[in-house]
């Protein structure tokens, strides 16, 4: 079965200037664009809650105003601002005073904790909500960790220092991961009370010592839900796989074509096959254009956990197309033939309904796309 008319698929689109949705039945043949919602607001992350199948959170700010989060309890029908956005504790010493510039990342908690959410911010901060996102508390195990200053001392990327890729092991709610650009990947085995760097094997070519314990630049880290001891990472310095309990990342991007390289922002997993992943390479040479190599956009897929990669560009522009796809702007649905979606900095949404073998454009002329996420309702 390739889909059904009963199933509803919502593609949540967050842009630099507001939010939109594309909706379809499970057949994925006709898509309807709705929006804008909160036109003019910078939407960093727009995330559905798969646990209750109705809640959505949207992390936003505007050019003038401080960060906040909006919440819907009815699949996006109605929205209200939450009560208390993530904020660092107030301190007397100005030198230690941190303030949230933006909420960059949202992750629903473990299935056993249906009201729990986590947020990652810029500057790097981890926050937890226990009331469905209405109020947030600083996770002191990370934000006040004795090594926090050291882990984050290498400063921000041009978009600010970003805490992202907050991952909860579905088989053990106390096992968590987070990533910082620039800072590295960190692991907690006690639900965030303590953290340790998890970067061995990852390159940090931009550092004086490329073999540092932390200070790396993970762009996107994902964990396979059916094999949670397997992590993939699209890093500033390559594509990696980690099979725990090993603590050594393996650079599977070295198997990419040399002319394309293994630099990019997003990495997306097949929902049922832990050996299958997609990336969207970008040009990381010279001054880092971060556009499609040679102006020829393509996804690359691996079906063998990164031992080999296959180019997938059918339907995408054959040239003169300088796409940038940000780390939250590529996602997959769970259909039998997995649907893939990516949004570009030019405001286009592209989709494939045959696991990347062919592509078509679903929407054009939107603002710069920051985030895509899939909500599927039976």
């Amino acid at each position: 079965m390739q889909g059904s008319t009963e199933k509803r698929i919502l593609l949540l689109i967050g842009t630099r200037k507001g939010a939109f949705t594309l909706s379809s039945t499970g057949l994925r043949q006709r898509w309807t664009l709705s929006g804008p919602l909160y036109l003019g607001h910078i939407v960093y992350h727009f995330v559905p809650d798969p646990r209750d199948q109705r809640t959505m959170l949207m992390a936003t700010k505007t050019g003038h105003l401080g960060p906040t989060i909006f919440r819907s309890n009815d699949r996006g029908g109605n929205w209200t601002e939450i009560k208390t956005p993530p904020a660092f504790p107030k301190v007397a010493n100005e030198a230690d005073a941190r303030a949230v510039e933006s909420v960059f990342w949202l992750t629903p908690g473990h299935w056993s904790e249906p009201e729990v959410w986590y947020a990652g911010t810029s500057p790097a901060g981890l926050f937890r909500s226990e009331d469905g996102g209405d109020t947030w508390e600083s996770v002191s195990g990370f934000n006040a960790h004795p090594n926090y200053v050291d882990w984050t001392k290498n400063g921000a990327t041009p978009g600010g220092q970003l805490l992202h890729s907050i991952l909860i092991d579905p088989s053990a709610h106390e096992q968590m991961y987070l990533s910082i650009s620039v800072g590295g990947v960190f692991e907690s085995s006690d639900q965030g009370k303590s953290w340790t760097p998890l970067n061995k094997g990852c390159a940090a070519d931009f550092m004086p010592d490329p073999n540092v314990e932390y200070g790396h630049d993970p762009h996107c880290v994902v964990l396979h839900p059916l094999k949670p001891n397997r992590l993939y990472q699209q890093n500033h310095c390559g594509i990696y796989r980690l099979d725990l309990p090993s603590k050594d990342w393996v650079r599977i991007g070295l198997n990419m074509p040399e002319a394309v390289g293994d630099i990019g922002f997003p990495i997306v997993l097949h929902p049922r096959n832990p050996d299958c992943a997609w990336v969207f390479p970008m040009d990381g040479s010279t001054v880092w254009p971060r556009t499609s190599p040679e102006g020829k956009p393509s996804t690359y897929v691996t079906h063998d956990a990164g031992q080999s990669w296959k180019r997938q560009d059918k339907g995408l522009p054959a040239g003169n197309a300088y796409f940038t796809v940000k780390r939250q702007a590529m996602t997959a649905d769970t259909s039998e033939s997995v649907g893939l979606y990516f949004g570009t900095s030019q405001g286009e949404v592209w989709a494939s309904f045959d696991e990347g073998e062919s592509w078509g454009c679903l929407a054009q002329y939107l603002p710069e796309i920051y985030t895509l996420a899939i909500a599927e309702y039976a």
Partner: protein, 86 residues
């Protein structure tokens, strides 16, 4: 006293461009505004009580550099959103 609200914050004030609020100091006035319009203060002031970069607060025509600025009963507070570019 009268507080002039810029358009980016009028979603909090039911689209009113001017409202009434009270306070001995500017910080008190913002707290009073927040009690009337929950959430509005954090959009202007961060968790360390610093005025956000693109927010300017004018008291009786003079830009306030911090939130300890003392207000008079008839003061007028003007909130400005300062931003350029696309």
């Amino acid at each position: 006293m009268r507080v002039l609200i810029p358009s980016p914050l009028q979603s909090y004030t039911c689209n009113q461009g001017q409202v009434e609020a009270t306070g001995v100091k500017l910080y008190d006035l913002l707290c009073n505004l927040d009690s009337q319009y929950p959430g509005i203060k954090f959009r202007m002031i961060d968790e360390q009580d610093r005025i956000r970069q693109h927010i300017k607060l004018f008291v009786d025509g003079q830009q306030a550099s911090d939130l300890n600025c003392v207000l008079k009963p008839a003061s007028e507070v003007h909130i400005i959103c300062a931003l350029s570019g696309g």
